[in-house]
């Protein structure tokens, strides 16, 4: 099944039969756009991040053969930009434009068996839509993701920071990585010790935790060694002609490298989504990135020059 949601406040669940995808409308009961939607890992529920400051969590009701939504509302003060399910399908993290990332219980008695507290073992089990924790950032929280083990939560905010929360034994511990490049739009764990971030630099960035805490490691896309460049005209008429030629060819005035020249990168626009391509049951060895330039790029981790052992890849 595929779940889709749109700014027209609707969500559809598509089922495939006899070569045709059939949509069935889900009544979300939101008055504003749906921004993001995710299936729970067990595939029985899905959550929709919406501009109505709430997250409808939908499960299937057999008697009426339709998807029913329950709302997670308080205390979101603004649009919910992203949602991420914990691997146990009962906890959900949300990122909002009110600068906070929050952790809620998404335990639905009708669909789930027994309540599993996951990394919050030791805390009091809360009912559906109750908030366990929240964390603040200095900008909109664009993206949030759980580690494969479910013990670490990472969220990226618009103030060029990546917050990593580690659970297990007592209170959750947060570490903030303030990096030097532009904010992230999407974040994905590729192992318990490595996070990929895609953002406005159009280049997937690797953050790793190899002993001394989380830190930015490197970008995936590396600039190739300088190739021999054609002679740049510098005098009078020739220079003027070269400038106009370059404007029509590359959209930039200089043929020499300008500071913002990113034509060597695989992506020319902010990276908005990343996904593991090889089966989820094994360690990530291949992932894809999509960007606003309409390109999908596939990256092979073993071929990249990373500290694979330490990162658990």
């Amino acid at each position: 099944m595929i779940v889709t949601c749109a700014h027209d406040r609707n969500a559809f669940v598509w089922t495939y039969s006899d070569g045709v995808w059939n949509p069935s409308l889900v009544i979300l009961r939101i008055e504003y756009a749906a921004i993001d939607c995710k299936w729970s890992p067990d595939g029985r529920k899905f959550a929709v991040a919406s501009g109505a400051k709430c997250v409808p969590v939908c499960h299937y009701e057999e008697e009426n053969s339709w998807w029913v939504s329950k709302m997670i509302k308080k205390p979101h003060k603004s649009t919910v930009l992203c949602v991420a399910w914990h691997p146990n399908s009962q906890l959900i993290a949300t990122g909002s434009s009110d600068f906070k990332c929050r952790l809620f219980s998404a335990y639905v008695e009708a669909t789930d068996d027994s309540q599993d507290m996951g990394p919050l073992a030791g805390e009091n089990p809360a009912s559906f839509a109750e908030m366990y924790h929240d964390w603040s950032a200095n900008g909109w929280v664009h993206c949030v993701d759980w580690s494969p083990s479910g013990n670490v939560l990472a969220f990226g905010a618009h103030d060029s920071s990546l917050h990593v929360v580690t659970f297990g034994g007592g209170a959750p511990v947060t570490q903030v990585v303030r990096f030097t490049f532009l904010p992230l739009c999407t974040v994905k764990f590729i192992s318990d010790a490595a996070i990929l971030g895609g953002g406005h630099d159009c280049n997937p960035a690797v953050f790793a935790n190899i002993g001394a805490g989380w830190a930015f490691s490197e970008f995936c896309d590396k600039k190739p060694a300088a190739e021999k460049k054609a002679e740049v005209a510098t005098s009078g008429a020739a220079a003027a002609r070269a400038m106009f030629q370059n404007k029509t060819k590359t959209g930039q005035t200089q043929s020499k490298e300008s500071m913002n020249d990113n034509s060597w990168q695989k992506h020319q626009s902010p990276v908005t989504f990343m996904q593991q391509l090889n089966p989820a049951s094994s360690t990530c060895s291949e992932f894809s990135t999509t960007a606003l330039d309409g390109r999908i790029a596939v990256w092979k981790l073993p071929e990249m020059d990373l500290n694979h052992g330490a990162m658990g890849l």
Binding site: N138, S160, F179, T180, F181, L182
Partner: protein, 146 residues
């Protein structure tokens, strides 16, 4: 941070003066960036502290900016960038108005303003080169204003 008072500002001011007098302008600047009153409610105190930081920045000669920027750590650099942006937001010394506005006085004021902006832009270029566009984004998004 919430307990920052005008007495603390005065103390910081004296500290900066002392260090600048003994030729340690870089240390003076670093000392102002360690625990600034960012995000406190008292606007007067923040305003007064800004003047201390601007003084520390101005005390460092243009030739020594690169060395001073080298001495900053990540956090201090981010804080300094906030103060640089706030310093760039107004002209100083103020252009004389009314009866003071003789053409000579206005001309000298504008000369001084240009020199100050030029050196602030040098600061900006070097600090931003060190901390990247991420730090500029942080200046823009941080609600806790300088």
């Amino acid at each position: 941070m919430s307990s920052f008072s005008s007495a603390d500002v005065a103390a910081a001011d004296q500290h900066v003066d002392a260090l600048v007098a003994s030729n340690q302008a870089t240390e003076a600047l670093l000392s102002t960036l360690v625990a600034p009153p960012i995000g406190i409610k008292d606007a007067e105190v923040k305003h007064a502290y800004r003047a201390v930081v601007y003084k520390a920045i101005a005390a460092i000669d243009d030739r020594d900016i690169a060395a001073a920027v080298e001495a900053l750590d990540g956090n201090a650099a981010n804080v300094l960038l906030k103060y640089i942006y706030s310093a760039l937001s107004f002209a100083h010394p103020p252009t004389p108005e009314g009866s003071d506005a003789t053409s000579a006085a206005v001309a000298t004021a504008e000369q001084e303003q240009k020199k100050r902006s030029a050196s602030l832009l040098k600061w900006h270029a070097l600090v931003a080169a060190k901390t990247g566009p991420g730090s500029v984004i942080r200046v823009m998004t941080d609600r806790k204003r300088v």
